[in-house]
């Protein structure tokens, strides 16, 4: 193994905010990466999309930073920035020239400390988010595949609605809800700040204490759903019509959460099956039999139990039935005969190279440290991850396939083009 190690130190502020510092003086740049442990899974039915809409509102003004001035300050300082929301967490990040570190801390702490939003900025962002939903999902071929899959695979877990939310719910979000959400979840004890790059440890600690130390925690207990689906005993199937030229197949099987022992063998299995043109299923579906135009699979790493997902688009003239029957045949083979030593070694080699690529930028290093801290409970797991990958055996992979990649555990959706009207033929 290549021995790439990400060094860091970490501590808590007295108000409970966790801090991770990773120093690297190669270039005078600093990455600020702030995670709040809240995502769409903390929402309730009827209020879907709220965590993500709220993320937009975090750019709409705080006590000392008027609407849109957050962008203005960062970009005027030569920085880049963004934010994202997932099922489990929300992150905010800036990459700045090193001499502007304090500016970034001032900005992030001001919007953790206070929010100054108005009915008008909320109305605009509701519209922006509805356009985001159209651009990325509704108006995008196959854009709804994952949300349709999750809606059917889960009956109870709060992953059954998409992070972007429903149009109706987005429209009905109120200013009072925005403020309450901020008080509830955007508190220091629910946040982890990671700095990566060119700074002195002492200076960084002083500045962080100065800006984040005085922020108090709100009252009330945060809603942290710990809901597990009952085991699925029979297959779920459905058909979705979409404006697409080629039919597709999306399949999801229930798997354990990202921290469970079986997760890593499943992750490795997805590399063996579909990562790269020499992978087993790419070779069978796309290269050899040519029944698919593309295939991908992944073990979704989530805090609550997730899904192992296959997404396959048919080649012209091929049907979802053909894709599905070949998929079951191939999975039967994995369950029965396992994977070869060479396939396993290749997957490990690819994961190692991808890891090295992933840590090549400061911002992604900071995001990885936060990810392991917030979702896996300990940033140290970032550096242990390699060893855990290395330890996986052929037997582990076969057992994981036999346990989870089964027909009764699957939700299968066939995506079909709208039937043609006679005038279009």
């Amino acid at each position: 193994m290549s021995g790439v190690n990400v060094n860091y130190e970490e501590y808590d502020l007295p108000n409970g905010m966790h801090v991770i510092l990773h120093r690297d003086h190669t270039l005078p740049i600093v990455a600020i990466n702030l995670w709040y442990h809240v995502g769409s899974k903390n929402e309730h039915e009827g209020e879907t999309g709220f965590a993500h809409l709220f993320e937009h509102m975090m750019f709409q003004g705080s006590e000392n930073v008027p609407a849109n001035m957050h962008f203005h300050h960062v970009q005027s300082a030569g920085g880049t920035l963004n934010a994202s929301t997932s099922f489990d967490r929300t992150n905010y990040y800036e990459t700045l020239p090193a001499h502007q570190l304090e500016l970034g801390l001032w900005l992030e702490s001001d919007r953790m400390n206070s929010l100054a939003v108005t009915e008008q900025t909320l109305e605009t962002q509701r519209n922006v988010v509805m356009e985001e939903r159209r651009s990325r999902y509704d108006n995008q071929p196959y854009g709804t595949m994952l949300m349709e899959l999750f809606a059917r695979a889960y009956k109870m877990q709060p992953y059954r609605w998409p992070t972007i939310g429903s149009m109706t719910d987005i429209q009905s979000a109120s200013l009072e809800q925005v403020r309450a959400f901020h008080r509830m979840y955007y508190r220091p004890e629910n946040a982890t700040l990671c700095l990566a790059g060119d700074f002195g440890t002492g200076t960084a600690q002083e500045l962080i204490a100065k800006y984040f130390g005085p922020i108090a925690n709100g009252d009330g207990e945060m809603y942290r759903p710990f809901i597990h689906e009952p085991p699925q005993t029979t297959q779920v199937r459905d058909y979705v019509y979409d404006s697409i030229p080629l039919p597709g197949l999306v399949v999801g099987m229930h798997i354990p959460d990202m921290n469970a022992p079986d997760f890593i063998p499943l992750d490795i299995l997805s590399y063996i099956l579909t990562s790269g043109e020499s992978s087993r299923l790419y070779h069978r579906f796309v290269y050899e039999s040519r029944i698919a135009q593309s295939i991908l699979s992944f073990a979704y790493d989530l805090e609550l139990p997730g899904l192992f997902i296959f997404r396959i688009i048919a080649q012209q003239g091929k049907t979802p039935e053909m894709l599905e029957s070949m998929l079951w045949k191939e999975l039967e083979d994995v369950r029965r005969n396992g994977v070869t030593a060479s396939e396993l070694q290749k997957a490990k080699n690819r994961i190692e190279t991808m890891f090295v690529r992933a840590v090549s930028s400061l911002q992604s290093r900071a995001d990885l440290l936060n990810s392991f801290r917030v979702l896996a409970g300990d940033a140290a797991k970032l550096n242990e991850h390699r060893e855990r990958i290395h330890a996986v055996t052929q037997e582990d992979v076969q057992r994981a396939a036999a346990t989870y990649l089964t027909e009764h555990n699957a939700t299968c959706l066939h995506y079909l083009p709208y039937p043609k009207k006679s005038s279009e033929q």
Partner: protein, 468 residues
């Protein structure tokens, strides 16, 4: 820490910045072999990984009567050689944890790998084989053709792809930039292995190629590898496209691609832009940044943050060997399509009509010059810029001088640049969206021509009826 909690902190003003450090564009090593092939190495040993690209000058611009030829030739380089099958090639590289890819741009074709540096020698042998003796086997040609025909079909349901294809055709007509780089259904169907052999033979010559290696690799090691694998290769440089000017139309076309089920319109507005090695490129770059190049740009603040019409509005000069397209655009909900177009045209006009304020100019300059170190953070980012220098014949110190040239621009320079390079009155207006709605609402910008997803004109039944 107790101290800071008890002190009342004044948050009302942004803190003063520290002292900035200068970040020069990194120096890199160059060596020209006896046969004319150049080897460029940028060393960065912070991670045990290396990326190598073997690049030939000239790309899709030279497709001639066979649109899609450069792109398909490049893809097939890694799909079989005299001694290796497609499966051998990908299996070899992927087993080592690496990835291999090949492709064509408008002005170059290349094969590239990214791999842990300890495997570099073995990977380079595979790369050299794909570049020197690709076999373009018929079976692989058919396989790639089938994939590409399916891709073309797929693109017909992508609003942004439909808008861009129509836009390119409206702006460039029969010029090579008017057709898709990956070709059309007809041209892809006609591509054959012998054409690819010829295209490859003409361009992958020693005098027309260069190698860039970045990351965990020493110049001596790379030169030794290159001499061993490419030293005996011959052949001259091939001429590049000239800098000929592309005429703008006298009137502006208004074209709609009909997507009956669309819930948004994908809008593109623009015209032929600037050549990459034109002396005005840097002022044009800054002008575009102000108009639609970053979050704080006029288009995004207007269409997204003020009006809420879109998730994001943008503008871009895609500079190529000849004047590539300038396009401003956004994806907006159906009902506001005409208003969004009006705002985009207004913002273009505004850049010509009045100088930008000093505050706005300073902000964009700070953004461009301040974020420069972020653009050269990884070895791969540095490599991209070195390739630009080579392909477009820029000065070796182009990126070293970049920031000072940006800082020297005045508000008057920007306005003058806008008057030369932005032409809202002669810009093509293209929208992919619901034809029945757009045909009426877009009339006020000019006569609307309607097209289907395959690019065929849809006759305007109503106006025909009125004419007769």
């Amino acid at each position: 820490m107790t101290d800071s909690r008890n002190t009342t902190l004044d948050r009302s003003r942004p803190p003063k910045p520290g002292v900035p450090k200068d970040v020069p564009f990194p120096d890199y090593f160059e060596h020209t072999m006896a046969n004319g092939m150049k080897v460029i190495v940028y060393e960065d040993h912070s991670l045990p990984i290396a990326a190598v690209n073997v690049v030939a000058r000239g790309g899709s611009y030279f497709d001639g009567a066979h649109p899609g030829l450069a792109s398909m030739t490049a893809e097939l380089l890694t799909k079989g050689t005299a001694t290796r099958s497609a499966t051998d090639i990908v299996e070899d590289i992927e087993f080592l944890g690496g990835s291999i890819g090949s492709g064509a741009g408008w002005d170059s074709m290349s094969v590239g790998i990214s791999i842990l540096s300890r495997h570099l020698d073995r990977a380079m042998e595979v790369i050299a084989d794909t570049v020197r003796q690709p076999s373009f086997p018929d079976e692989e040609v058919e396989r790639v053709r089938e994939q590409r025909l399916a891709d073309i079909l797929q693109a017909r349901s992508s609003p942004s792809a439909l808008a861009f294809e129509r836009f390119s055709s409206a702006v460039y007509g029969t010029h090579p930039y008017g057709l898709p780089q990956d070709g059309t259904e007809h041209t892809v169907a006609a591509l054959q292995s012998p054409m690819m052999h010829d295209f490859h033979r003409e361009r992958f010559t020693a005098g027309n190629m260069f190698i860039t290696a970045v990351g965990d690799v020493e110049p001596e090691r790379m030169v030794e590898i290159a001499e061993r694998l490419f030293g005996d290769l011959g052949g001259e440089a091939v001429p590049s496209p000239d800098g000929s000017v592309i005429a703008l139309p006298e009137t502006r076309p208004v074209q709609v691609v009909d997507r009956p089920s669309a819930v948004q319109s994908s809008i593109l507005i623009g015209h032929a832009g600037i050549a990459r090695n034109h002396e005005d490129y840097i002022p044009v770059f800054l002008l575009n940044m102000l108009l639609g190049g970053y979050f704080g740009s006029r288009l995004n603040l207007n269409l997204r943050e003020d009006k809420g019409y879109t998730y994001g509005a943008h503008a871009r000069f895609d500079a190529r060997r000849q004047a590539g397209p300038f396009a401003a655009g956004a994806e907006v909900r159906n009902e506001v399509t005409d208003r969004a177009i009006e705002e985009i045209l207004k913002e273009m006009e505004q850049m010509r009509g009045a100088p930008v304020s000093e505050e706005e100019l300073e902000k964009v300059k700070n953004y461009v010059t301040g974020s420069f170190p972020l653009q050269i953070e990884t070895a791969a980012q540095v490599a991209q810029r070195i390739v630009m220098i080579e392909i477009y014949g820029l000065e070796k110190d182009y990126y070293t001088k970049f920031n000072s040239r940006i800082l020297a621009l005045s508000a008057e320079d920007i306005q003058r640049t806008a008057q030369t390079w932005l032409h809202p009155d002669r810009a093509a207006i293209v929208a992919a969206g619901r034809g029945s709605l757009l045909r009426n609402t877009l009339e006020r910008f000019g006569p609307v021509e309607l097209f289907d997803a395959k690019g065929a004109r849809i006759p305007d039944v109503e106006s025909q009826a009125q004419d007769t």
